[in-house]
């Protein structure tokens, strides 16, 4: 891929790209409580950007400030080069899809979707056409005359999406868009949402607490904690290269071992941890003897009954204490000889019945992992 092509897919890498949404030093206080604490953020045109975090981390407050429902205590932001501080909610080039959908209960689907266009004085015949088009996009053209209480959860969700999209806003804000759907529908809708975003080409900002949703949907994710960003990056970066224990722990599951740097050289690092010596195959700027953390994903650990051929780093011995069968994978909780617990996931490639080397409770097992898997964290 040429560099130019790479920039089209990932504009945040292009040093010359102008961010579409610029957030600068935004702080929001509710009394003594600081919901959002001095954050900066650049979002580029056409991105599907996720704000991910637990409840109370400030992600919804940030979204509501973008929509104009809350005024920042300090700081500023602009959309497409226009400063938003003094623009009221009803004049902003944003539309929001609410967590509760917020469909107007006394209006039909058609009226709900057309409401925004009516407010901007679009002629009646054009409203009708655009409403029809957008309802076709979300596959609800037969539900025009229904009232919101006659719709299922999934249908309400799509009406809410259509209503937010029909005005073709510069930015679509989605607050937990799939939160109220059941798991099956949620997975299906995730892909629909991505397809629709690609079709309409509008910049999406999604707030969610569901890390799986964020991983599937987004071009980039901002992990939020206590009103600040812990890390901003692509799903792969966030998952494979978390910058802190919080992010490593929040996204997916992970084993975290405390340790001290035993040897540090240009192309590798060795750390003595509770799980034995860990070798990392790339250099890091850490001091010998420094206290650090090693994060190791459960799926990156191999579990065998046979002892390793040679002694060395990146392996450990333990006893299976618990097994969680999830269908596609099983989680093995292994207690190492020194008492440390390590989670390991292994795909169930064959049915458990047919397994020749079935690993079961109270069995001695050996763990090993590649030198590229451990992540060294200093915070």
């Amino acid at each position: 891929m040429s560099e130019q092509q790479a920039y089209i897919d990932s504009p945040w890498l292009d040093p010359d790209a102008e961010p579409f949404i610029k957030v600068r030093g935004i702080t929001k206080k509710f009394g003594a409580f600081t919901a959002v604490n001095n954050v900066d953020l650049d979002i580029y045109r056409g991105e599907l950007f996720c704000l991910l975090g637990g409840s109370g981390c400030g992600k919804s407050t940030l979204l509501r400030m973008l929509a104009g429902f809350e005024q920042p205590t300090s700081g500023s932001f602009s959309i497409d080069g226009v400063e938003m501080a003094n623009v009221p909610a009803y004049e902003r080039p944003t539309n929001m899809m609410f967590q509760s959908y917020a469909l107007f209960p006394h209006m039909t689907v058609e009226k709900n979707v057309g409401y925004g266009l009516k407010q901007s004085g679009v002629p009646k015949s054009e409203i009708e056409d655009r409403v029809n088009d957008i309802l076709k996009l979300v596959e609800l053209q037969d539900f025009k005359k229904r009232k919101p209480h006659q719709l299922s959860g999934g249908q309400s969700q799509r009406v809410a999406l259509a209503r937010a999209l029909v005005k073709e806003p510069k930015v679509l804000l989605l607050d937990e868009p799939l939160g109220a759907l059941d798991k099956r529908l949620r997975e299906q809708t995730q892909f629909e949402l991505m397809n629709i975003q690609e079709k309409v080409g509008i910049t999406f900002i999604v707030v969610t607490h569901d890390q799986e949703e964020a991983m599937t949907l987004s071009t980039r994710i901002a992990v939020m904690d206590a009103g600040q960003f812990s890390q901003i990056g692509t799903p792969t970066e966030i998952y494979e290269f978390p910058e802190s224990r919080f992010v490593a722990d929040f996204i997916g599951s992970t084993n975290i071992f405390e340790g001290r740097v035993a040897e540090e050289s240009g192309d590798h690092v060795t750390v003595d941890t509770e799980a034995g010596p860990v070798l990392i195959d790339h250099g890091m700027s850490v001091q010998n003897g420094a206290r650090v953390f090693i994060a190791l994903r459960p799926e990156k650990i191999q579990l065998t009954k046979e002892p390793p051929v040679a002694a060395g780093p990146n392996q450990a011995k333990g006893v299976v204490e618990d097994i969680g069968y999830l269908g596609d994978v099983s989680i093995y909780r292994v207690r190492l000889d020194n008492g440390t617990l390590v989670d390991v996931t292994a795909p169930n490639l064959v049915r458990p019945k047919n397994r020749t080397h079935k690993i079961t409770w109270e069995e001695d097992v050996y763990l090993s992992w590649s030198a590229s898997s451990p992540i060294l964290l200093t915070k």
């Binding site: 104009g68 429902f69 009803y90 539309n95 509760s100 107007f104 407010q119 059941d182």
Partner: protein, 278 residues
């Protein structure tokens, strides 16, 4: 115990209901009494109803009460709704706590005091600016509005709190200016509450004797005032008939208000359950 309600509970229910309703039932029955002497049963008849409708005094009292009721309910609903909106939707403005207390005060103030203080106000105003020139329809209506609007404000506030602000935000987000949000979203959603408030104000006004008798003037008799003044001269069968009609009207009003509020509650539960199960 699972075989049914204990007899004790059943008896308590019967006694309690009897305590509440036997007097009214007796009154209704005696309104159909043929005899001119109230305590003496002389057979069924509707003559007192006929007589009642032929009495110009009664008619003018009915008309005055209805007129006051309608005007009062309308103004109280408008003012009470505005007050409720201000309390719930305008954030923490200066003097909000004071206003909240003052809005609720008429609900707990003894009627005698409300009546007396309003009378003093009207007299003082008449001295100072010459208005109201005479006490009657205008003064009673104003007096009724003062306490009715407090009830409306309470209903509207609870409705607004129950509604939440999300729909208004959604409308604003779609480009509706504040006034459009009010007319397109807030008012239609408030309509059932406003209707309930209107009916409640109407029945409150129809019932009121104490405040009205303070602020009324010569010749302006509302229905309760008329009944009271006639009763003072002894029990009369035509008053029984009149009371029966009032019971009927009030019961219907309260029932309609109750149904509206119940529907509203059900609608709200429905919306809530939809949000939670998706």
């Amino acid at each position: 115990m699972s075989k049914g309600r204990s007899p004790f509970l059943t008896w308590m229910l019967v006694l309690g209901m009897a305590f509440l309703y036997v007097p009214m039932i007796l009154l209704v029955i005696y309104s159909f009494n043929k005899s001119k002497l109230v305590p003496v049963w002389g057979g069924w008849s509707v003559r007192w109803y006929v007589e009642l409708f032929q009495s110009p005094e009664v008619w003018s009292a009915v008309m005055l009460s209805l007129k006051i009721g309608v005007v009062n309910a309308t103004f109280a609903t408008i003012l009470g709704s505005l007050a409720g909106l201000a309390m719930v939707r305008f954030g923490r403005f200066k003097g909000r706590t004071l206003m909240s207390g003052m809005l609720a005060a008429p609900l707990v103030m003894p009627e005698v005091i409300t009546g007396l203080s309003l009378l003093m106000l009207f007299i003082t105003m008449q001295d100072l600016i010459g208005w109201p020139a005479e006490r009657g329809f205008t003064t009673i209506t104003i007096a009724h509005i003062t306490f009715s609007l407090a009830y409306v404000a309470v209903i509207i506030q609870s409705r607004l709190v129950g509604m939440g602000e999300t729909l208004e935000e959604a409308a604003q987000d779609l480009g509706a200016k504040p006034f459009r949000v009010l007319t397109d979203i807030t008012l239609p959603r408030l309509a059932p509450g406003m209707m309930a408030g209107w009916l409640l104000s109407f029945t409150l006004s129809l019932d009121d004797l104490v405040i009205a008798s303070f602020v009324t003037g010569p010749g302006s008799n509302t229905l309760p005032i008329l009944i009271y003044s006639r009763i003072r001269l002894g029990l009369r069968p035509d008053i029984n008939a009149l009371a029966t009609i009032i019971i009927l009207v009030v019961a219907v009003g309260v029932a309609i208000a109750g149904i509206i509020m119940m529907r509203q509650q059900r609608q709200r539960d429905l919306e809530l359950s939809r949000v939670s199960d998706g």
